[in-house]
């Protein structure tokens, strides 16, 4: 049965790649179960479905992954509405960058430091997102492009905007999982189409 990674990678039923994925059956099943746990949980808890799809659409946009953008934009339109979907699309377009970048702890690795990309949401977009999503997008942007710039202080603005410890773990899992899912799909798509 076709799952989310199959759809993102363009893997058809009966194809050679489907058989290769079947060689790692638990990886396949639990990647899909992770997707369900983070995007359509039984109990959304501290992070609403609209917030989850908004983050997913934003992260897919930052990766420049058209299949994932289409998937999560559709979920966002369903759970968050057209105006929010448009604001998230503008947020992703306005903050595109490249990675991985960032600074190492000061010392011998400092020679490898590269400046973090800037992050500034257009004021009208930030207003439409609200503080909870705007702070989540700043965090997701850091985690996508320059994760080695991690610091405990990064949680303060999120906590001030209402993010709980449970919500922050879910948000971190969502962004990090998408970094995996989008890469598996991209890699398998190349593998399937390289003669």
């Amino acid at each position: 049965m076709t799952d989310t990674i199959d759809r993102l990678a363009g893997i058809a039923p009966g194809s050679a790649l489907e058989k290769i994925r079947a060689g790692r059956p638990a990886a396949r099943d639990h990647a899909e179960a992770s997707h369900r746990a983070l995007l359509s949980p039984d109990a959304p808890g501290d992070v609403s479905l609209a917030e989850r799809f908004a983050v997913a659409r934003f992260v897919a946009g930052l990766h420049g992954a058209p299949e994932a953008v289409a998937l999560y934009a559709a979920g966002l339109a369903q759970h968050g509405g057209a105006a929010l979907a448009e604001a998230v699309a503008q947020a992703a377009a306005a903050t595109a960058a490249t990675g991985p970048r960032g600074a190492f702890p000061p010392g011998p690795l400092s020679a490898e430091d590269s400046p973090a990309p800037g992050f500034a949401l257009p004021p009208a977009v930030a207003a439409l997102l609200g503080a909870k999503l705007a702070t989540a997008f700043a965090y997701a942007h850091f985690l996508v492009f320059h994760p080695r710039d991690a610091a405990p202080e990064r949680f303060a603005p999120l906590q001030a905007a209402g993010w709980t410890p449970d919500g922050l773990v879910t948000l971190s899992q969502l962004v990090a999982f998408l970094a995996f899912q989008i890469r598996v799909a991209a890699g398998l798509r190349v593998l399937a189409t390289t003669p």
Binding site: R24, P25, A31, V169, V175, A179
Partner: protein, 194 residues
Amino acid sequence: MSDSLAEPTAFTRAQIGWTPWLPPLTEAELTPRHLEALIDAARAKNPYFRLLARDPAALQHRTLADKDIFYNPEGGAPRADRELAATAVSRANGCIYCASVHARFAATYAKREADVDRLLEEGTGADLGERWNAIVAASVALTATPIAFGPAHVQRLRAAGLDELGIADVIQSAAFFNWANRLMLALGGATVPA
């Protein structure tokens, strides 16, 4: 953070620690659902896993995907190659803690301590011989955002002797560490004795 601990400033194969920046659940707070999500009972002692237990379903499925990607012995890439991909991704993203753990695994399974140390010290451009160079290059390309992995990486892996399942293993191992690195980096800091 305790006064007796400092942040590591270089990549290493040595054992280092990790301290959470958000409050983990306490052992007393763990319900049967949390214990199920931890998979291995010993992980109830580990603050990283007790922090991730705040979202038990996400933790449970992350862990079970991880185990199949790295431990499934049925064909494909040898464990050493999968651990090399994990180490290369951790080196590229800058996760000193993750790199230390998987550099130890890569060195042990491959019996190539000197090559693993060269990857840690020189970075992902180190010359490790063609098979490992191909795996590192593919892992780094998959780690870039936007993703830079393309047909030339697949052809180079095939030429280096990997079969299709083995290439899929490298892809999944490298992709998985783009998940693992981000959790480990974002939620706490690596520590060494000061």
